[in-house]
């Protein structure tokens, strides 16, 4: 007898208030999405910039001659 009454209480309806999105969040989201679209579209500019050799303003330094590589048989870890 008590069990059905308990079950009725468990079937209570829950009312949830609708989620409200403030306008400033919408503007911020649009700006981020637009910036992303533009970055994707103009990605070739960054690639071209990276492909160009960097201009060095420092004085050239003489690099040491590379030492001949020696191979040893059997390595230890």
């Amino acid at each position: 007898m008590i069990a059905p009454l308990l079950m009725m209480q468990a079937c209570a309806r829950v009312h949830v208030d609708p989620i409200e999105v403030k306008p400033i969040h919408i503007i911020h989201d649009i700006n981020i999405r637009v910036d992303r679209q533009l970055d994707d579209f103009f990605a070739f500019e960054a690639q071209k910039g990276a492909a160009q050799p960097a201009v060095s303003t420092t004085q050239p330094t003489t690099a040491p001659a590379p030492s001949p590589t020696t191979t040893t048989a059997g390595g230890s870890i």
């Binding site: 059905p4 009725m8 079937c11 309806r13 637009v34």
Partner: protein, 148 residues
């Protein structure tokens, strides 16, 4: 006693479908709605690819004009001549660049449900940040300033 129990059982069984309906409605509300057609999106993507190719072709020439101080970026996201001196070949290049930029902004604006002006201003902000030292930038006051 038994009639009372029967009434209680009937009440419980009557509430069960109602709770099932509520669960179904909650699940339907959570499901994201996708109403946008795919054909317009793929057409826009193809057009964007085409535009990207044209921008790539002009990129080095526009960059050279910027470094020479002939043209600069404006706060609206377009390219304009810094002085009244407008060589003919540069004028054609600038006109084509701005025309394609306007179309680009319109396509992105349609995609993101906003205005082409907003997209242009966001691009201007990017270009102002990326501008090299010595290039000219036109602010909202209409004055050209040289980037330090």
């Amino acid at each position: 006693m038994t009639s009372r129990l029967t009434l209680v059982l009937i009440a419980v069984l009557g509430l069960a479908p109602a709770s099932a309906n509520w669960a179904a409605k909650a699940a339907a509300a959570d499901k994201p709605k996708t109403d946008k057609p795919d054909d317009a999106g793929s057409k826009n993507d193809a057009r964007l690819k085409e535009l990207q190719g044209r921008f790539k072709q002009r990129y080095e020439k526009i960059k050279a004009l910027k470094s020479q101080g002939v043209v600069g970026e404006t706060f609206e996201g377009y390219v304009d001549f810094v002085t009244d001196k407008k060589p003919a070949d540069a004028a054609t290049l600038v006109e084509d660049e701005n025309k394609d930029r306007k179309e680009l902004y319109t396509l992105i604006a349609e995609k993101e449900n906003t205005t082409a002006d907003l997209v242009g201003k966001r691009n201007a902000k990017r270009n102002f940040t990326k501008a090299a030292s010595g290039e000219y930038l036109k602010g909202e006051d209409g004055k050209w300033t040289k980037k330090a």
